[in-house]
């Protein structure tokens, strides 16, 4: 059959990632030593479909690896093995391995992963330990008959070949399975002798042409593992009578093999298992790795990013309805336009009104399609907290609330890393060791809460911990040492806390000497600012901290304020505007050699002249003719001198980088109603471009009278 399977690869990868997520969260829910059959089944099903799919698509490394895991799972499911926390950990590592394997296939460059090979050995050792653990000496046949399922226990190689009896059910052909294809696949493993059993074929008159009446005996001369043979019959095993036995001449050899293994090899293997298990808790880096490598590999430039989202059929139906309405409106307007007289003007206006309503609704629905619940991002944290709390010997409970809060997929993809950073920070520096907590009169188990909710067109994500809080004195000490603030500065608590987001506040070597936070927090802030969002911290010493991230619901649309300088129209994000001031004579302070300042109540705000940093002509002859817009960006206020404010409108953000490149002070472009392009200003970029120093003008002694 000439079907190109590669067209289904992407679907398989996505399903596998989902399956892995399911496995992971189910594993974390699993209570050691009690077998919750539903959870085990869930894990088993996910593993099984990954195995099945990877087998079909020829990703044998994934299939083989998953097969071993599945076998162990099956034993747990069948009750022949207890689940221990070690096994759960092993499974979690296995999930990471499978994910890596699949990612490599996804990226189109499969490589052997050493961890996978080792892990597979461990699993195999556990499995064979089980086989030998049975009282009686077990031959492979017995082992496989333990489980009734489609998965066979023994994964050994026969050394010489396999004898297969295959009698499919009558309607096997109708389910799309072709025995011929399977035989060809077997043949690819080694030389194959086939004897067909046609005794069941009825007289020609009563033959149903779509039924399969035949049975086959096959002898495969190949040194392959049984799982390889199993794999061929994977899809039909439930619909056929299938016996796979080693070729009879090898029976004796096999028996001696299984007799010798228990005493000698298993012991070695068991010590190997322990060795593999022990290092894990003592090396935090290796545990935290998986969660970090996942997002990294996504950024790999060599990988073509083909992403897709699953959309509920109701959302699509909504869209279709709306497009239907749009078509009706369009034809109505078209008809009107063919033969237009002034009497029809009210109808035209009505039609245009309808059109704008259709457009708005359509826009909203399309946006909704891109919206996903934040649980997609939150779901990775139970694992992270589980692993990290273990390595740090802390007791931590993770609470997730507001998981159903929806946000744009692109925002979600980009917020993942900063969130991981913040949660790790809370775990690492926020929550104290259990004994310290008890001493401080707090419950031994610390709590980290991830909370998400909508607030006035933004999504707010909070990371709340009940740990030690920020150590104000130490932060200040460090900041003064680094020259970020001077000793005389009279900073409020919030301003001190905010210092942790300053670039250069902390480098890796300070992690150990400062108990406060600040590892790469400037990067976190920068990433969030890039999404037009903000991050703040509130903290009470001894009681914990709250990190609050505010993000726009979508990156595609922005509420903009059109501004004009000379003949140029730019757009300021409405969210960044604090106020605008028309008559500011008397509030100006000219600084020689620096930029002019605006005295705004009790602070000095640097003034940025758009016309001079953009080298454009302004119509305003003098500063007083202009208008000052006070905006906030990068955590500082600046006043931008413009000629005039124009309309406010929602703008669709277009990338400048797509066809051009990054432009300093500009975050993107949009297309205005008249079809021309207008540039969206980037406040932090403008501040940088104007060379305004931060904190330089920040504080005015409160003793000064405010100039009005």
């Amino acid at each position: 059959m000439g079907i190109d399977l590669s067209q289904f690869h992407q679907v398989f990868f996505e399903e596998s990632y989902e399956g892995l997520d399911v496995m992971e969260s189910a594993l974390l829910n699993l209570q050691p030593d009690t077998v919750d059959s539903e959870t085990i089944n869930e894990i088993f099903r996910a593993a099984h479909s990954i195995k099945g799919g990877s087998g079909t698509f020829g990703f044998t490394d994934v299939a083989e690896f998953t097969h071993v895991i599945e076998t162990l799972l099956d034993e747990i499911r069948g009750g022949t093995r207890n689940i221990t926390s070690e096994i759960v950990d092993l499974f979690l590592q296995a999930v990471d391995c499978i994910r890596k394997l699949i990612q490599q296939h996804d990226a189109g460059e499969p490589r052997e992963i050493p961890e996978a090979v080792e892990l597979k050995k461990i699993f195999e050792a556990i499995l064979s330990g089980n086989v030998s653990g049975d009282e009686s000496v077990s031959s492979p046949e017995q082992a496989s008959s333990v489980s009734e399922s489609d998965v066979q226990g023994e994964d050994g190689s026969s050394g010489h070949g396999w004898k297969i009896y295959f009698k499919p059910e009558l309607d096997i052909l109708r389910t799309g399975n072709d025995p011929l294809r399977m035989f060809r696949e077997l043949e690819s493993l080694g030389s194959l002798r086939i004897t067909a059993d046609v005794s069941q074929v009825p007289l020609i008159g009563s033959i149903d042409p779509e039924a399969c009446y035949m049975a086959w005996e096959l002898e495969l001369d190949a040194d392959v593992s049984k799982s390889a043979v199993d794999e061929v019959f994977e899809w039909v095993v439930d619909e056929s009578e299938l016996r796979i036995e080693p070729l009879s001449s090898d029976d004796a050899a096999l028996e001696t093999r299984s007799e010798t293994t228990p005493d000698t090899e298993i012991e070695d293997k068991e010590s190997e298992i322990k060795m593999e298990l022990e290092p894990t808790p003592s090396t935090p880096a290796s545990v935290s790795k998986p969660t970090e490598t996942v997002p990294n590999s996504k950024k790999d430039p060599s990988k073509v990013e083909v992403s897709s989202i699953r959309v509920g059929i109701d959302k699509v139906d909504d869209l279709i309805n709306m497009v239907g309405e749009l078509v009706i409106t369009q034809s109505m307007l078209g008809e009107l336009g063919l033969d237009f007289t002034m009497e029809n003007l009210p109808r035209l206006l009505e039609g245009i009104e309808q059109l704008s309503q259709n457009t708005r609704e359509l826009q909203e629905s399309v946006m909704r399609i891109r919206m996903l619940p934040i649980s997609f991002t939150f779901s990775r944290f139970p694992r992270l907290v589980h692993d990290l709390s273990r390595t740090m010997n802390k007791k931590i409970e993770l609470k997730l609330t507001g998981e159903q809060t929806e946000l744009d997929k692109t925002v979600m993809e980009k917020i993942g890393d900063p969130l991981v950073h913040l949660v790790r920070n809370s775990l690492d520096h926020g929550i104290e060791m259990p004994e310290d907590r008890v001493q401080a009169g707090k419950p031994e188990t610390g709590t980290i809460t991830l909370n998400a909710f909508h607030q006035s067109g933004n999504i707010v994500i909070q990371i709340i911990d009940d740990g030690a809080g920020l150590n104000k004195a130490k932060i200040l000490e460090k900041a003064i040492e680094k020259g970020l603030v001077s000793e005389n500065d009279n900073l409020s608590d919030d301003q001190v806390h905010d210092l942790i987001f300053k670039p250069g506040f902390s480098t890796a070597d300070q992690v150990s000497d400062i108990s406060g936070r600040g590892v790469g927090m400037d990067v976190v802030r920068r990433n969030i600012n890039e999404l037009n969002g903000s991050v703040e911290v509130e903290s009470t010493e001894g009681q914990g901290s709250v990190f609050t991230i505010r993000l726009p619901l979508t990156l595609a649309i922005l509420d903009g304020q059109l501004i004009r300088v000379g003949e140029y129209v730019y757009i300021l994000p409405l969210i960044s505007i604090v106020e605008s001031i028309q008559s500011f004579q008397g509030m100006l302070h000219r600084v020689v050699g620096g930029c002019d300042l605006l005295r705004l109540r009790n602070e000095y705000v640097p003034i940025i002249k758009l016309s001079s940093i953009f080298n454009i002509k302004s119509t305003a002859q003098d500063m007083d003719d202009g208008l000052l817009v006070v905006v906030e960006g990068d955590n500082m206020k600046v006043a931008i001198l413009i000629d005039d404010l124009e309309a406010q409108q929602q703008v669709v953000i277009k990338s400048l980088e797509e066809n051009y490149k990054r432009v300093d002070g500009v975050s993107g472009a949009t297309i205005l109603g008249n079809g021309t392009v207008s540039l969206i200003l980037d406040i932090p970029g403008l501040i940088k471009l104007a060379g305004v120093q931060r904190y330089e003008y920040k504080v005015v002694n409160s003793g000064d009278d405010c100039a009005a």
């Binding site: 140029y568 454009i616 066809n659 300093d664 472009a669 079809g675 021309t676 392009v677 540039l679």
Partner: protein, 183 residues
Amino acid sequence: MVDNKIDDSSIARINEEIEDVVAHDPSEQYLTFYIEDEIYGVDILSVQEIRGWEPATEIPNAPEYIKGVINLRGTVVPITDLRCRFGIKQFEYSGVTVVIIVKVQSGKSEKTVGIVVDAVSDVSNFNRSDIHPAPELSENINTAFVKGLGSAENKMVILLDINKLMNASDEADLSRVSQAISA
């Protein structure tokens, strides 16, 4: 002076020819155009369409030859003035000034950019053997973006490697190139 009386119908005709060529024979065909008195050519396969000049939105602090960005059916496309890029004195844009929209490979992505030329000329076939390599010039003149020299109607055509040309850094001084080659 160049005959740059190009009206909408001739643009339409050339657009048609482009489509025809893309559909049938993707070999060495170039869209030729005028800048000053020189004829230049770009690989027809990189040409997306030809448009009349329309005012562009200026980009702050961009090099002088970047005339700004325009709205091309919803995408924002930067416009480079080749005359200006080659350091030739600029003249006023008029209704006959033409923008050639080309697709350029930049790293792994494909960018759509517009180039302003004085006038488009024709779609010409060049046999491989008829294309001569660009002459070696003194070191301080960058000829990397000249693919070769051909001739059409007894005039020399400078065939441009549009990918290299559009990816050349802003600092690269491309002035004097045309004089140097045609000298």
